[in-house]
């Protein structure tokens, strides 16, 4: 029975984690009911799947996603989720044939959910989402900014407008947009000036190592100690979220064993219930109900294309069969003759070559990371690499790149970035003037060819192109 209690606790932990990170509330009971294929568990599971697929697509579960979800009809929701899952590679026929009105099939949904969590590493991505309330640029959350409910219909869509009127509208909107960009520019300058003032004023006092002054956030907290409570609650919520995630690391094995049992149930059910979804021979019979199982955007000629490619491949194999056999013999002989020591030499040579190539490629990926890295803060250092290269090589490469990261001085790459950006800006300016001149010339030729038109050039443009 302690086993059962463990399972229950783990499932509840999973539900807590999902809720902490933005998914809608799911009870542990729902998941358990889904194991036994109870119909009332389907609805919440469809919603959970939707949210998790949108999380893995966009990186977060936004409130707009939930709103969109509530607005969609049931069939649309089902369609959307099925499409997303197939796009990720979950090609289970049983899942794809689930009814579009969200009745039943909760065990399939549970299996799909577990597959998604595992394949997309959703829990790890939750861990990567750092949202500590004492991060400096989260300061804006404390201002009570009321959201303007500006009309949600864009202007100028109601009536019909002539093309001339449309042109005027577009000119107007364009100019308005530019003005707003200028407002943004002014706001950003103000931000920089004020931050500079704060840093100057608190010179000599510091709460974090490595800085010589207080940050804006810290100054705000010092001035408004009554907001400490709010920050404390936020911090508590954050730490409980992290605790849950940590516990998951220990306990997830229980969850996967439980999922095994779910799978066993399903296989058993299939054997007992008799081949409902099994072979293609029964495809004709299933034609009526399992009408559509493919939800990916595939071109209609896909079937023919696949068959043609298959034929091609078989032809190729037949052609080169003899060559392939010879190569295999050669490989065998080589493998038995080359010694352990020679293998090591080869590996180190490959390592060195990779390092060299990386350094010559320019340190751009590292540089970007340096520019955006915050100061001392929590960071999970992932040791997993994405390649399938043997473990020895990948670890060596990862270790060396990390050490270079930490040793590098941030000032040097920033200066290079600045010069590079300046050169880019200059080249863009040159391109712009060249294009302007070109356009002016074309305008002039058009004006000359047509006797009824005159081309009037505003003086500041003429000045620019001289």
């Amino acid at each position: 029975m302690s086993r059962g209690i463990q399972v229950r606790e783990t499932i509840e932990l999973l539900c807590r984690i999902l809720t902490d990170n933005g998914a809608s509330l799911v009870e542990a009971e729902t998941l358990r009911k889904a194991k036994f294929d109870k119909p009332e568990a389907s609805g919440p599971l469809w919603q959970l799947l939707f949210e998790l697929t949108s999380f893995s697509k966009y990186g977060k579960i936004a409130s707009s996603a939930t709103i969109a979800f509530n607005k969609m009809k049931t069939e649309e929701k089902v369609l959307c989720v099925k499409k997303e899952m197939q796009r990720k590679g979950y090609l289970s026929r049983a899942f794809a044939s689930l009814p579009p009105d969200m009745q039943g099939g909760s065990r399939e949904l549970l299996l799909a959910l577990a597959w998604l969590i595992h394949t997309e590493g959703i829990i790890h991505r939750f861990m990567d989402n750092r949202s500590s309330p004492v991060d400096d640029d989260v300061m804006s959350l404390y201002e009570s900014v009321e959201e303007e409910d500006s009309g949600d219909h864009p202007p100028f869509t109601d009536k019909k407008y002539t093309p001339a009127q449309r042109v005027q509208q577009l000119l107007m909107l364009n100019h308005k947009l530019r003005m707003k960009i200028r407002l943004l520019h002014a706001a950003q300058q103000e931000h920089a000036t004020l931050t500079h003032k704060i840093h100057n004023a608190t010179y000599g006092v510091t709460l974090s190592p490595g800085m010589n002054h207080l940050t804006t956030m810290q100054t705000h907290m010092l001035r408004h100690p009554q907001e400490m409570k709010k920050v404390l609650t936020l911090l508590e919520a954050d730490s409980s979220r992290l605790e849950n995630l940590l516990q998951w690391e220990d306990k997830e094995i229980v969850f996967w064993e439980w999922m095994d049992s779910v799978l066993d149930l399903k296989v058993q059910g299939r054997v007992d219930g008799g081949d409902s979804f099994s072979s293609d021979a029964e495809g004709a019979e299933m034609g009526a109900c399992a009408a559509r199982t493919v939800y990916l955007d595939v071109p209609p000629s896909m079937g023919a294309d696949i068959a043609a490619s298959r034929r091609n491949l078989m032809n190729m194999i037949l052609q080169f069969e003899s060559a392939i056999e010879k190569l295999e013999e050669l490989w065998e002989t080589k493998r038995s003759t080359v010694s352990e020591w020679e293998l090591d030499q080869l590996l180190t040579a490959i390592n060195a070559e990779i390092l060299q190539l990386q350094s010559t490629l320019g340190r751009e990926p590292n540089k970007e990371r340096c520019l955006t890295s915050r100061g001392p803060s929590l960071a999970l250092v992932k040791n997993k690499s994405e390649s399938r290269v043997p473990a020895k090589v990948s670890n060596a490469v990862a270790a060396s790149s990390q050490s270079r990261d930490i040793e590098e001085d941030t000032a040097a790459p920033i200066q290079d970035e600045i010069t590079r950006l300046q050169m880019e800006a200059e080249s863009l300016e040159r391109e712009l003037t060249a294009m302007r001149r070109d356009c002016l010339q074309r305008l002039n030729t058009v004006a000359e060819t047509d006797p009824d038109t005159i081309c009037i050039i505003p003086p500041h443009v003429r000045k620019l192109c001289q």
């Binding site: 009127q165 200028r182 000036t193 505003p458």
Partner: protein, 446 residues
């Protein structure tokens, strides 16, 4: 948000002095007269003062954020002493530039000769002023179109500012000369200045001397009208637009900057001319005996807009908002408008009559075009007052008039040699005419 004022030329300097004095008068109005709590009043004062003035380190009298430029010494020194005399504000030292010889009412003299000479000094002063600001909201240039310094040097300074501060917002307030003005070449000066300002400024606020004169004589019952009275009317209009007011659509502080007001009023790059209409404007003696209601005020204001009337007397009530059978309209159509309501019971005022779509051009609508701001604090002794800043067709008429006169003079090349000898060419004249003709045609098609 801070606005830096540039006072250019004799007229510009005098208007500028009066401008800051009007602001100070408004801010120092006694608590009993303004219908507001002390705390709210202090907020208002702080906001307004932060915009136009700068705190001094060793004295409590604030300094105006202003740069003064003139080619003669008299106007500037007079304005500075008057400012000091009020005791409420001063001009910062070393922010004035004056020279000895003047521009002789010649635009080319101002633009081609004086402009480059004073460029460095003026830029220096402006940058010093800009560094004092936390947030540069924009520039307000005050100048007149008829003279030589204000118009010529003013146009040059505007271009220079646009080069140095490409992201800043620039509003130019221009004083339109009398139709029967004293300066012979005023039309040339006006045409040249306007065409240059159109390229660089974001918005040009037009104040016609003729209309202001009428307001002084008929509404304010002033017997002998001097420039001082006209300047006071100008500043009344400007301050009713620029003093703090809360936009109705947004509840947060967004929307109060000069830039947000401008992006609502001058959204189209071809339409930059603005006019300000105020209501009510009564003389001091009549003030005690007048009371007003919002409905009446707004109705009058609307008719002033439709009939292109500059003031609330002599409005042509016959002009209605309707289309003629051929599709054109006789009433005045706007591209955008901003309504500022100040005074008691301002929440009860109903601006919906301004949302009539036929008041606006056919390709825009009142949703984008109209913005309403309110301020419960009474303004300048008026219990209730409203100002309408609009970007509308009515501005075309004086422009047309000036263009015609200038063209007639140019056709016979009268006085052109005065301009050519300072470095201009006839092509510059032609460019100016062409630009303004384009402006006129785009306004006519509104």
């Amino acid at each position: 948000m801070s606005v830096i004022t540039l006072q250019l030329g004799q007229c510009g300097n005098q208007v500028g002095g009066q401008f800051f004095t009007s602001i100070m008068d408004d801010l120092h109005a006694p608590l009993t007269a303004i219908n507001m709590s002390k705390q709210a009043n202090n907020d208002y004062i702080q906001e307004s003062q932060e915009t136009f003035f700068c705190e001094q380190k060793n004295s409590s009298v604030p300094e105006a954020r202003a740069v003064m430029v003139d080619m003669e010494t008299k106007a500037i020194s007079q304005t500075v002493t008057e400012a000091k005399r009020t005791g409420r504000w001063v001009y910062p030292e070393r922010q004035q530039l004056h020279q000895k010889r003047g521009s002789g009412n010649n635009w080319a003299h101002g633009f081609c000769l004086h402009g480059p000479v004073v460029r460095e000094a003026v830029l220096d002063m402006v940058q010093r002023e800009a560094e004092k600001c936390d947030r540069l909201g924009g520039f307000l240039s005050l100048l007149s179109l008829a003279g030589g310094t204000g118009s010529g040097v003013g146009a040059y300074v505007s271009e220079m500012l646009r080069e140095e501060f490409p992201q800043a917002f620039m509003v130019n307030q221009v004083v339109w000369p009398y139709r029967t003005g004293e300066v012979i070449v005023q039309n040339y000066n006006a045409v040249l200045t306007l065409s240059h300002l159109y390229q660089t400024a974001d918005a040009i606020v037009v104040m016609e001397n003729d209309e202001l004169h009428k307001i002084c004589s008929q509404l304010l019952s002033i017997k002998r009208i001097a420039f001082r009275d006209i300047n006071r009317v100008i500043c009344h209009k400007l301050t009713s637009f620029l003093q703090p007011a809360q936009p109705v659509e947004t509840r947060t502080g967004y929307g109060k900057e000069l830039g947000s007001k401008l992006q609502l009023l001058v959204p189209h790059p071809d339409h930059k001319l603005l006019t300000i209409r105020n209501i009510p404007q009564v003389s001091d003696r009549a003030m005690e005996f007048s009371t007003f209601q919002w409905t009446g005020l707004l109705k009058h204001l609307r008719q002033m807009l439709i009939a292109s009337a500059p003031m609330e007397e002599g409005i042509n009530w016959q002009v209605k908002v309707e289309e003629t059978p051929r599709g054109s309209s006789r009433h005045n159509r706007s591209l955008a408008a901003s309504l500022v309501l100040r005074g008691k019971d301002v929440q009860s005022a109903d601006p919906s009559i301004f949302r009539d779509p036929s008041l606006y051009s056919s390709w825009t609508s009142a949703d984008i075009g109209l913005s309403v701001s309110t301020q419960p604090r009474s303004f300048c002794g008026y219990e209730k007052c409203a100002a309408l800043i609009s970007n509308s067709r009515s501005v075309v008429q004086p422009l047309d008039h000036i263009l015609e006169k200038a063209w007639n003079m140019f056709a016979s090349r009268a006085y052109v040699h005065q301009y050519v000898k300072h470095g201009m060419s006839e092509e510059d004249f032609l460019d100016a005419f062409v630009t303004l003709e384009q402006v006129v045609s785009s306004y006519k098609s509104l």
